[in-house]
Amino acid sequence: MSREELPVFRLVDLRKIYGQGEAAVHALRGVDLTVAEGELLVLLGPSGSGKSTLLNVLGGLDRPSSGSCFFRESDLANAADAEVTQYRRRHVGFVFQFYNLIASLTAQENVELVTEVSTEPMPASEALELVGLGKRLHHFPAQLSGGEQQRVAIARAIAKRPTVLLCDEPTGALDVATGVHVLEAIVTANNKLGTTTLLITHNADIARIGDRVVRFADGHIRSIEANERRIPPSELHW
């Protein structure tokens, strides 16, 4: 199999257990999943179903207890700490529910924080332009609305042209209109940059923007469905 044909992620019997003995919590109970290059995958499921744990493992923020988690040909489950840091630095863009911007840096500087250490980044202003914030470059986080802050976070995540974009409930703290803007930014990145994107949401309606929808329950994948057509975020109502 050539590099291009390799899936971005290949998970085999992935398990994650927190704690020990009676207090042990099985967050992932044997997950098998393959994610293809450029795909937009939506993860759906109730709280505690394991989707965030999966995203954290894929992002190199957490380690599985057993099983394999291949990013292309390297197994993240057994990589050294420094390798995982490098992986995050080169390949992963994160977007969280809470924006986690650095309060002491402007929008542009928040993005530059990442581009300064990336190999082939896009200019920070271009990334912000892409998420519709071309005119807010020099504002500090405290001077931006919630939706704007989230879009800065997306710009920061995509500016380095990551291989994968991991979004954990990016619209969870936002109203509908603002949420749509944010989703548009994510979809734009996926379309224009071909970034493989995994997006967690509680909202079944949002699932329609993805290529496939993975439903989680109790640490298992209950179903994987392919959408016939990806709906643009502007057509969503919730």
């Binding site: 923020l61 840091t85 809470f98 309060a103 500090f140």
Partner: protein
Amino acid sequence: MRLATLDRKLLRDLKRLKAQAIAVSAVLACGVALFVMATGMYDSLERARDNYYDSARMADVAVSVVRAPDPVANDLAELPGVNAIEARVTGIGLLDLAGKSDPVSARLVSLPPDRHPRVNDVLLRAGRWPDPTRDNEVLINEAFAEANYLAPGAQLRALIYGRYRELDVVGIASSPEFVFAVAPGGMLPEPERFGVVWMGREALGRAFDVDGAFNEVTFRLGPGADIRDTIFAIDERLARHGGRGAYGRDRMLSAQFLADELTSLRTMASILPPIFLLVAVFLLNVSLSRLVATERSNIGLLKSFGYGNLSIALHYMKFAIVFALLGAAIGVLVGRYLGGYMASIYQKVYRIPELAFDAKINVYLWAVVVSLIAALLGAAQAVLRAARLPPAAALAPPAPVGFSRLGQGIENAARNLDGKSRMVARRIARFPRRSATTVVGVMLALALLITSQHFPISMNHIVDVTFGVAQRMDATLTFAETADDKILAEVGRLPGVFSVEPLRATEVIFTAGSRTRRDTLMGLTEGAYLYRLLDQNMDAVDVRADGITLSQNVANKLGVKIGDTVSVQATDGHRAHAEMTVVAVVKPYLAGAAYMQLGALSRALREPGRVSAAYVLMDSRERDALNREVKELPMIAGVSFLSNASASMRKMLNEGSGFFSYMFVVFSCLMAAGVAYSAARVTFAEQERDLATLRVLGFSRREVSYVLLAEIGALLIVALPAGAILGALLSRWLMAQFQTELFTFPYITESSAYGRSALFVAAAVVGAALAVRRGVDRLDLVGVLKSRE
């Protein structure tokens, strides 16, 4: 008993904040320890001295006289204000100790035949009291006995007034007048070479040829007696017997030394602890403000449940109280330990029975009160903020910390920085007061350490200059009484002597306007080489024949300057009186006096051709031969070698200073580390989310640690030079504060004092910051990022 829920929260929060509690309490403890040590030692020393002076009837006034018949003593006892007197015979003799080449001087003091002295009692420490019927039985002072390994039963060969006598030591004793026993003409106790010998009045009277008479009187005054009137009356009464002028305790060297030491302790107690307490106030302010900020929503919640502002305020005040009590407890324990050590040093220097570190309860109470005041001052702002927080506002998320661009100039400079460095720069600028607290804390720690390093440098400089540049004789031969200057030729013929310079020293009373002072007037030869006065550039200042040169402290006491006239009254001989012009003022480091040209002094005293001591330059290989001959010369009452004096001076000045140097290194480093730790903790807590974000974004631990450490590093870079400047100023100022009657501390600096101090302080800061940095390794990336800001 069940603890109130808020108090249980307090206990758990304290457990969580224990590292910060330790940092704040450690700085508080340093201040408290210094306070307990200095104040407790001051009280203990003062009390021990006063008790000793009272119980052993330390003289209030003393006078020496050429020779007064015994019945005169009865008249003196009748003088108004006089409570008790003791008329006695004293003099200087030489002792020949087996196995000791250098002659040992002794002050011989008579004991009444059938009782203890009424003034300056003698306390038997070992052995027995001399048998009045046996002339050769004597007591010797404790310090001398210990230094020379003499015990009751020892025998001494003494040269008294030109005649050898064999003395039997029957007891070891101490007396309040010799708490600090100094040889005549000396500056410091040298117990190996100077002793006090008490012997029967009759035997000593015969030895000094003052049978049926006395040559010294000591007085205890009654309560309310006016010492100046009494001195005047004594002088009047003794004038025709050759009275040399009565003087109070301020001219008794032993009492003066003790008074000086007490002054230094008081200075220490009033200056050093406040510096530490001030830093603790800052630290508490930073720590508690941070705590209240993080507990904002808790405060809102509690208020919404109906907790009043007062109970909220009290809750946060309790944090400060716990810090204060912890600091006070550690400080008291450390202070007691340091005080005990200090007392053990004092016991070696001062012979005061029952001198121990014994701080009274009020010292400890004050320590707790001071600690509490400091803690509450530090907590005040945060406590008020917690109390005033409206519950609705507290429940809403805090307004995000608004950052802004730095000034245009700084922004231009910052443009070249990478993002992480810009974060650091903007944080420092955003929280200027907190940044300033860190800088000031580290500055003060460095300044204190630099200052403490300056004292040994200054002391060694004093010794180097006094015994190397100013005094260059190899030995000083002191004559039993003023001698004809023909004796100089005899001294010149002693083995190994190259050159001889004379000294005429006499006690005089200076008067200028309403001020008087009794001091020594030294007559030196013009162009003297062996004993020189120095100006501030260390150049020799020649004595002059046309007027008097005063040391700075004598000039200050008299309130005179160059060009003023002082009246000089001799206290012995012809009791000459003269008006003299002050022609120069010099600033010797050790007990200054007054100086003039020898010939002019002799003329003024109307005693030409008299000398009281000789400075000699000699071949050190001939020292034993010289010692042997000197012991046979009746006119010589004492020989002191400069090398011995300089060694004992160095020993005394450095006694304990090594320990105190360590103490200051520890205290200053604690202060610097405490400040840095608190600052780094707060920075870490506030930036935890940012640091975790950076980690998530793919920055390595090292890069993320940089954001945390660069802030402390940048503040350290500012604090070090500023602390060095402050250290120089503080050293200079403290040296002046510690100046006493007998010592002047020059501000002498060595770059090593700065380098070493900066190194210690920087190491403490870096160590503390690295301890906080470990938090970066333990960052819970997921947890931090998923929680709401």
